[in-house]
């Protein structure tokens, strides 16, 4: 028999304060091992990086919208970046590189995995904390120096890394080609450290989901957000070390003179591309699977209906995760590839459209005939689905080799990737933040300003990225400093200026969110335990949950999507509510 220590019952008192108030501020909020605090730490850090990445994007849009003109406020930048506020081409290269790096590695990925993986997994499966709380803490505090290093690259001699966020060799490998040495080295070291942080986080998540589910929480009673985070953790675990290995070789090429990717001594630039995209394509699904999970939870809640086709949702997640390993070559159709191999990559890529479409139709089936509640998270989740459809369809264009050859490295790609990364992931992140904010901070966000932020973001976002398809089809190259240098692109300047002005509106709209986020933290309306009438275990505990999460370990009786169940009067039925046994014959509904 397991012995339950008497101190345990004390620590699990309803408020949880009996245990927590003994801890110093430093242990409770800074070097905390509590998964909820670590999640919030990741949230703050990655939102700062999201803002920083946005600022970089604004400078890029200024240069493209108003090429060669002095940027308002650009005078504060040193002459090595923008003398008199006019952006230099070298600085522009660093801008596009770091915009991608910040957004992918320090904003979207930690927002999805670091924040909500940490915050939701123990709460939603009914565990008191992660399996390894101290390793969890380490994974955050390892990410901090990585972030500082990545920012520090801007102020070192030679400027920041400028070979694109994909750092293609040999440009990234030889300082004499790019003019950048220290910046690229910092880029490498920072991402190696961040990779370690991600790996530590992911094996913790995997162990927690496998071993610490509350009694009755069968695999097929897990919320889809947890399924998605679990599968994502497996992808992170297996893909990140490939990137680490590749970057270590790149770093050695730069620093101790090895020849992995330099063609002069027999190295292979193509090897970098294969390694990078062998990591990079699972990475794409790392960036979208959790978003799909959050959308599933929130759409079921907003529609007051069970998720349509729960099991097919789970198998679609698994199928995407498996197929995602066999498609990396579609990034390299133009890098020199045997056409037969290209065809096989084309087919494997198109296959991924099948599970993706299953998910989309299931979301539509969930909303269909629901009594929909259009709360802010629901709006963001529906935006996620619709934008993901556009992004997914443009992906089919690029998967087809004959089309890709024409649109490769144009703004069509930029449009596509922003439709899945911004329209997809980021809208789902906004949905998740607005949904779980009351649980995290114990206060509601202001619903009017949250909706205002949604409407402005949704409209401005489409004004920014939809015209980019048009730019791309007309041959407008991505990462180009000044399109006016080409005569055939000059007539597109008007469209570019329109995109830039829309981008400034989009950026400005994010301050509504930022102010709402910060102000609600202090003066928001107090949140009840279950503001959205949700079934998940996290809504059965106080907002914010006490240290240790659950006063008693919950027992789970059903899946998470029993909305509008005929068994109860309310239109929701929490996973841990025990119902009296049903009379024989009436069990047909369950």
């Amino acid at each position: 028999m397991p012995t339950i220590k008497s101190s345990v019952a004390g620590h699990a008192s309803a408020t949880g304060e009996a245990h927590t108030h003994e801890m110093s501020f430093l242990r409770k909020y800074i070097f905390s091992t509590d998964h909820k605090i670590i999640g919030i730490q990741f949230l703050i850090m990655s939102l700062v990086f999201l803002l920083a990445g946005g600022v970089l994007a604004m400078v890029i849009r200024w240069q493209l919208g108003f090429p060669g003109q002095a940027m308002p406020g650009g005078g504060v930048l040193p002459d090595t970046m923008a003398p008199d506020g006019i952006v230099l081409p070298e600085f522009y290269n660093a801008l596009v590189t770091m915009h991608g790096t910040f957004m992918v590695f320090f904003a979207i990925m930690p927002l999805l995995v670091g924040v909500f993986g940490n915050y939701l997994i123990p709460l939603k499966i009914g565990a008191p904390d992660m399996a390894f709380p101290r390793i969890n803490m380490a994974s955050f505090w390892i990410a901090v120096p990585a972030g500082i290093m990545m920012i520090a690259g801007f102020v070192v001699e030679g400027g920041h890394a400028a070979a694109g966020w994909t750092s293609y060799a040999p440009l990234s490998e030889r300082a004499d080609l790019s003019g950048v040495s220290m910046g690229q080295i910092l880029w490498c070291i920072s991402l190696i450290i961040l990779g370690l942080s991600s790996i530590l986080g992911s094996f913790n998540y995997i162990t927690t989901v496998i071993n610490l589910r509350a009694p009755g929480m069968h695999w097929f009673r897990l919320p889809l957000s947890i399924w998605a985070l679990f599968v994502t953790a497996i992808l992170v675990l297996l893909a990140m070390p490939i990137l680490s290995g590749a970057i270590i070789m790149l770093l050695f090429d730069q620093t101790i003179g090895t020849h992995f990717f330099g063609p002069a001594q027999g190295g292979q630039p193509l090897l970098w591309q294969h390694l990078f995209w062998f990591f990079g394509h699972p990475e794409v699904y790392i960036l979208i699977l959790p978003a799909m999970g959050f959308a599933s939870d929130i759409i079921a809640n907003g529609s007051r209906k069970p998720v349509f086709g729960y099991a097919s949702m789970v198998f679609a997640i698994l199928a995407i995760a498996v197929l995602g390993w066999g498609v990396w070559g579609h990034h390299m159709f133009m890098s020199g590839m045997n056409p037969t191999l290209g065809t096989s990559f084309m087919i494997s890529t198109m296959l991924i459209a099948v599970p993706s479409a299953i998910k989309v139709f299931n979301w539509l089936g969930t909303i269909w005939l629901g009594s929909v509640r259009f709360h802010t998270p629901m709006l963001h989740a529906v935006a996620f689905v619709s934008m993901f459809i556009i992004g997914g369809l443009s992906g089919i264009f690029m998967a087809s080799t004959p089309v890709d050859i024409y649109i490769h490295d144009t703004y069509f790609i930029v449009a596509h990737l922003h439709y899945v990364l911004f329209g997809g992931s980021l809208f789902a992140i906004f949905a998740a933040i607005t949904y779980w904010y009351p649980k995290m901070f114990g206060r509601m966000m202001n619903p009017f300003w949250a909706k205002a932020h949604f409407v402005l973001t949704f409209v401005a976002y489409n004004f920014v990225f939809f015209p980019m398809h048009q730019l791309g089809l007309q041959g407008h190259m991505r990462r180009i400093f000044d399109p006016n240098e080409y005569e055939f692109l000059q007539h597109l300047q008007g469209l570019n200026t329109f995109i830039s002005i829309s981008a400034f509106v989009l950026f400005a709209a994010q301050f509504i969110f930022a102010i709402n986020f910060i102000a609600s933290w202090f003066v928001g309306e107090k949140a009840p335990d279950n503001p959205w009438d949700d079934n998940g275990l996290e809504w059965t505990v106080p907002s914010p949950p006490p240290h240790g999460n659950f006063a008693t370990i919950p027992r789970v009786y059903r899946g998470p999507y029993e909305y509008s169940s005929p068994l109860v009067q309310e239109d929701f039925l929490p996973q841990n509510r025990e119902l009296p046994p049903q009379p024989a014959g009436s069990a047909a509904h369950t």
């Binding site: 397991p2 008191p128 390894f132 297996l238 680490s244 190295g267």
Partner: protein, 205 residues
């Protein structure tokens, strides 16, 4: 059916108490197996790159034994395999509750592991003095990166083993609870296994 919330210590029992059936092993063991999956992918990146570069440019490699000291490294390989044996002995000892045996076999493992790293450093110094450096073509690039990262893993393993040994001397392990010994053992055997592959493809082929 009200259970008290398990403490973190109870989470780590074998298997964790009070939960839905999971992997059937305690958290640290499951976590280490999962983590080793990550390590496999890391070494796959290095070994895969090595194979691709070598197939493309076989002329960049010297015949086995011309540059590298195969007999010395063969002895070193034998040492590392022996350290896996001593690790198994340490684990077997504590399973029987033999704390003295655990300490003895752990110390042996630490010494052999440290000896392996020492021989590797000695080998590096000689090679560099002979002009075989990391910038020496693809041969030098792959040799130093692969063996270097393996050596780094062995070093980390020795540090972990020293920690476990220190805890053994404090009497923290028993026949009932010896998770630390088993988990560090898993890592140690993995590092050993990787070396057998690296020794074969880097030195012998």
């Amino acid at each position: 059916m009200a259970h008290a919330t398990p403490t973190l210590e109870e989470n780590m029992m074998d298997p964790p108490r009070g939960y839905e059936e999971g992997a059937g092993v305690y958290n640290e063991k499951l976590g280490m197996w999962v983590f080793l999956g990550s390590e496999i992918m890391f070494f796959t990146a290095l070994i895969g790159s090595y194979i691709i570069l070598r197939v493309a440019h076989p002329e960049a490699w010297k015949p086995p034994g011309e540059v590298l000291n195969v007999p010395l490294t063969a002895i070193n390989t034998f040492l590392l395999i022996c350290s896996s044996v001593t690790m198994v002995k340490a684990f077997a000892a504590i399973q029987d509750g033999n704390l003295a045996g655990l300490k003895r076999w752990l110390i042996a493992t630490v010494i052999i592991g440290a000896g392996f790293v020492g021989v590797q450093v000695f080998e590096y110094i000689h090679l560099v003095n002979d002009g075989f450096v990391p910038s020496e073509g693809l041969y030098g690039s792959t040799f130093y990166t692969m063996t270097g990262f393996h050596g780094f893993h062995v070093t980390v393993g020795v540090i972990c083993l020293m920690y476990v040994t220190w805890r053994a001397f404090q009497g923290k392990y028993s026949a009932a609870d010896h998770r630390g010994v088993e988990v560090v053992g898993l890592y140690w055997h993995f590092v050993d296994l990787v070396w057998i592959i690296l020794f074969t493809i880097v030195y012998l082929i």
